[in-house]
Symmetry: C2
Subunit: 358 residues, 2 copies
Amino acid sequence: MFVVIMAGGSGTRFWPVSRQKRPKQFLNISGNDPMVVETCNRLRPVARDEEMIIVLVREHLEEARSLFRDRSVHILAEPVGRNTAPCIGMGAIYARYSGYEGPVAFLPADHYIRDPSAFLKALDQAGKVAEAGGIATLGIVPTRPETGYGYIRKSQPLADFSDFPVYGVSAFVEKPDNEKAHQYLQCGEYLWNAGIFVATPKTIIKEIRQHLPDLHYGLERLKETLGTDSFEKEMERVYNGLEPVSFDYGIMEKTGDPLFVLPCECGWSDVGSWASLYDVRAQDQDNNRNLSEGETLLIDSRNSFVSGRSGRLVACLGIDNCLVVDTPEALLVADLGRSQEIRKVVEQLKKIRKEELL
Amino acid sequence: MFVVIMAGGSGTRFWPVSRQKRPKQFLNISGNDPMVVETCNRLRPVARDEEMIIVLVREHLEEARSLFRDRSVHILAEPVGRNTAPCIGMGAIYARYSGYEGPVAFLPADHYIRDPSAFLKALDQAGKVAEAGGIATLGIVPTRPETGYGYIRKSQPLADFSDFPVYGVSAFVEKPDNEKAHQYLQCGEYLWNAGIFVATPKTIIKEIRQHLPDLHYGLERLKETLGTDSFEKEMERVYNGLEPVSFDYGIMEKTGDPLFVLPCECGWSDVGSWASLYDVRAQDQDNNRNLSEGETLLIDSRNSFVSGRSGRLVACLGIDNCLVVDTPEALLVADLGRSQEIRKVVEQLKKIRKEELL
């Protein structure tokens, strides 16, 4: 299987650890390797390093090269982010350029998966589905009435792939309100859209030609220059002319061609906030989670999350539902339940012109 | 007036800012000068520097000398703390040695007083009372049913000092339980014992001779060597043989001689915890208090206290009733209402042998 890892995201939802120059995928948010490295490692059973490409934006190229300096993973830099459709198009032509016409998995670099073997089993099966034509997506079986994710509504099961349940797709659904999210969870027909799918280069390029002709034209031009000196200049030119568009919106929701969804229970999370990072891992007996480099004392404290990255001692006394993130340049103390509002801090920093902390 | 400032206290109730080697009186806990310096400055209207002596324990001598290097305040180091009675005895013989027989004020170095002029007016009046013989104490008019202080029960008003109310003392009362503290507040006869009093050297020495004869014997020996080379050695010898005893317990509660109390409303606090330091000063419109050197963002936060002493940015989001103390070596995040339990942190630090942070 060829693998395209989409690492172009930006954002500061993990401020003060994540910064504009160091988004989540390049950080060891969960205390181990940087997420993009964890993502590559997780995929090793289905793809060798030479069968993986990381697509990112240029300002993170040096960082990625340094992370992968001892590995033969491909790295492709977009001059500027244009959402997922161009990134996926580039991945498809790159796979083909590498002589690969089989199923290609496309997936984000910054997701957490608790049970990699369940994930890989579904991905492998999705590859088989994709080989027969069409696009196969993984649908995460919901565990709560989540309003922060998009959903995929499955239709009838397909008999052809009886060793693993595969369904048709009846609709892609936007992030629901609370009431709808409860309905989705109860009725059992809805799965979380994790943005993970598998298709052959041929299928991807055919879809793009049909639904995003401008992008297709750009990719054709880029295909010619791949591996030549003029590639980078051509990337610059093509990307500058592209409209940002997501693959979901530009292709998935419009195509008349077959779409498949494979339900997957693998402990997936997009870890979109400190609170969700707190949720994905086991806590101690007081429901605290401690991801600190230095010594941390949690005294009479509950339901709290400490990420100590300055090496200093962190002492907590009597706190509850609290987030403490300690870095050498800045300290964050927040209500853990409000960690999705960290943009408010970042906005304030912009206002008071603390650019060095953004 | 001669002034004896008692700066021998130790303790870590303001950890991580206060440490064994740097107790509260030598810190700028409230964001301005170190408390012992604030105490001296407050007394300047009633005493010149040469009429002040700071009594402390030897390990803080260098610190104090450096704080007062440009001033002619006297400094006297005890080789080891033996509670207040020996300290007050030393203060009395030092005042006499300095040729001073008038009223001497004895007071702790680490108290906060919001209204210094009300305080000085009472102290001045206490001096007049003391000149006529006996010991005059300031009694702080209670503003809440405090269980953390001892009380003085006043008796009948004295007609002799009609320009300022002066009362006899009917009893010294231990820290009460919650119910009693409410009674004390309601009945109006009880005042907080702030450990501040005025008496002549003659009165003090007479009381010590009568009630603490061992201490009196020691002081007699020390009196002989004051100003000579053998003083320090004699201090060592005398202090090693002394029992620790407080002036309240050893003298005040036992004497049959006249005691007077002057009610005082001066916004006094012994600032015994972070919470009480938070209480003594005005907060912002969200009841937050920010005593930080660096930038601090308080977003949707209430009733919280930030003391940033590392120069780093401190960002708080959605916190309530929270204490954040940020120093270069250690960070404390606590329930502000439990700041009197900071000893728990210090005990843990001892257990894990983090001596450098004690």
